[in-house]
Symmetry: C2
Subunit: 369 residues, 2 copies
């Protein structure tokens, strides 16, 4: 397990990396763990291998879900998304792979401003998995599905030989509907937008590390893994003059953490982002564990948090509404969107300096989703 | 690798196995390879663990895709489906895991009478996988997508440690639209229906075995892995009086083979099925390889074939149309639907006797999809 880079060069060369110009992979020609980090290596792999082959206008947007229209007569567009879950261990403080698999896809759909309706589930089971383990995980999926208010309407089960998986892997794909009037996506951040964060960061990653026995002590931290669709639907229609147009970007900072998510959005929207380190809620136990292990919480995964880029005029109202929800009660304003420097995220630090906050560049915490 | 059961007891006790009465698993309490066979053990696992937890009217139908309506104003319903692909080896005569992953989901959507539009792809990559291998597989996915006329609009990539996968696994989920007037599904077989089969059986399973080096000789067989959506759209509107109502069931006999697929349909529709062994096309090389290995081609997987249960009056016309398509040119009539015995499949054998054709009950050919 490698450490997060703590010291970034003050202004590293900006990498031009639009979907239309795939970057050659600079490292060796085999898959390494860093390709699954959610950070720069993942992005490079996706650009070079997947986007160049499957290029189309929807995929090119690079959002959490693909949006399309089936019929011009309906008031809704459709959002679909997919997520495979390989977390190790299967059970961790505050959650398990089952709850994670439901929440992950519910959240990806929700981050497009869509209402998730139905999920599909694909299980890859390892020979020798105890049935009781599977039953516990499925029960947890059921509970999470009920909380989110979605239904599973298609599934698939495969079994691989002992040693060819890690207990089980779960893919969930989802479908939701979105009002046509919404313009929500990573490409819609606008200079002047206010950036909200729905609560503390780093809880999930630390909880998973504790579950793996890699902390060496008990932090007391629980994963934040939660369905955010109700939080999203609570704030979607905010807006005095044009209800529904105050929210420009929604995204859940999962793999790669808050810093990577903000970098993705800065690139998609060609804007600068400035956040204030002192405003970012971090549970004291997460801060302590991170310091001991040499991790930066800004790069640690979350599974029940979102950032919202919203119209400055409506920011206070949206924040207030967010705080009325179960998973948004600790929501805060963490920053704003600037014209320049484009595609860059900067952070005012606690000691008063400003530094570039880059995308996660090396490995990640191992298999936290 | 276990052999297929060749001798069935003449009238084994009928197992009552509706979605509302999950059957306790009778074997030991761990996942074994047979749970992924697509046969009886898979069905038991799905009933006991998944359907009992996620029960809802759409899932309960037990079809290849879930069908639902987003808006009452549109002429279409939506079909979604999911399939994880774990085939070993990744490349086999006539195909590879990439082509398989696209065709598998395109076909599941098509088997509901729906037109597949978009796919999502979730990769689980094993650390150490060669990038060039991934590139070849992705190129094959691109080719198959273009042939099927679908687009991939959302994706996900995870990496697991060396030894925790088998090169890579691919989940594809898909969405399609279906005209509301169609009533196509495993539950719509009617006594009197004619059963069509689009071509020869067993090719895929034997090709995969050859790819694994388990044949010990070269059979010359190529996998039939193909997208069947164009074949389906060619026949969908057949019907003099009520175009679109002549086709009652479409299903692709993948894991578990033709015999298992017919059993699924007999159970879903509470009908009897009679097929004629002499009418089932089997490539001589498949027949020879099966005999040498002790497999029954009726239980071997296919990835580019379908069975269609159609109105007796329109059967010849549908057969004729099917034969005009690339993947249906060898289509034949193999049997018919009877009132009794309900939930049973029978076969007139080449030697003139009639025997019960049961669902695959033990293990399958290992990891053929």
């Amino acid at each position: 397990m490698s450490q997060q880079p703590i010291d970034h060069p003050e202004y590293p060369p900006v990498e031009m990396q639009g979907p239309s110009c795939p970057v050659p992979l600079s490292h060796n020609e085999r898959i390494v763990m860093g390709h699954g980090s959610g950070g720069r290596m993942s992005h490079d792999l996706i650009q070079r291998i997947f986007h160049s082959a499957f290029d189309n206008p929807i995929l090119r947007l690079g959002n959490d879900a693909g949006i399309f229209t089936v019929s011009s007569n309906t008031p809704n567009t459709i959002a679909i998304s997919t997520d495979s879950h390989v977390v190790k261990p299967l059970f961790f403080p505050g959650g398990d792979i089952g709850r994670l698999s439901i929440c992950g896809t519910v959240n990806d759909i929700s981050m497009m401003g869509a209402i998730p309706l139905y999920l599909t589930v694909g299980f890859i089971l390892e020979e020798g998995l105890e049935i009781i383990t599977l039953e516990k995980i499925v029960a947890s999926m059921k509970t999470a599905s009920e909380e989110a208010g979605i239904e599973i309407i298609a599934g698939d089960t495969k079994v691989v030989e002992r040693g060819k998986a890690d207990g089980l892997y779960i893919n969930t794909s989802g479908i939701g509907v979105r009002k046509k009037k919404y313009q929500i996506g990573g490409e819609f951040a606008k200079p002047g937008d206010i950036i909200l964060l729905s609560g503390s960061i780093g809880d999930h990653g630390i909880a998973v590390l504790e579950g793996r026995g890699e902390l060496g002590f008990s932090s007391g931290i629980q994963s934040d893994v939660s369905p955010l669709n109700h939080l999203v639907s609570t704030i979607l229609e905010t807006g005095e003059k044009e209800p529904g147009n105050a929210i420009h970007v929604l995204r859940d900072p999962t793999r790669g953490g808050l810093a990577t998510t903000l970098n993705e959005i800065a690139r998609q929207s060609h804007v600068g982002i400035m956040i204030d380190e002192t405003q970012i809620p971090i549970h004291p136990a997460v801060a302590a564990a991170s310091e001991m292990l040499g991790f930066d919480p800004l790069y640690i995964a979350n599974e029940g948090k979102l950032v919202a880029f919203v119209s400055r005029l409506e920011a206070d109202k949206i924040l207030e509404k967010m705080r009325t929800t179960k998973y948004g009660e600790d929501a805060v304003i963490i920053g704003e969107v600037l014209e320049t420097p484009p595609k860059r995220v900067m952070m005012k630090t606690a000691i008063g300096t400003t530094r570039i906050l880059d995308m996660l560049s090396g490995e990640m915490l191992p298999r936290i989703c």
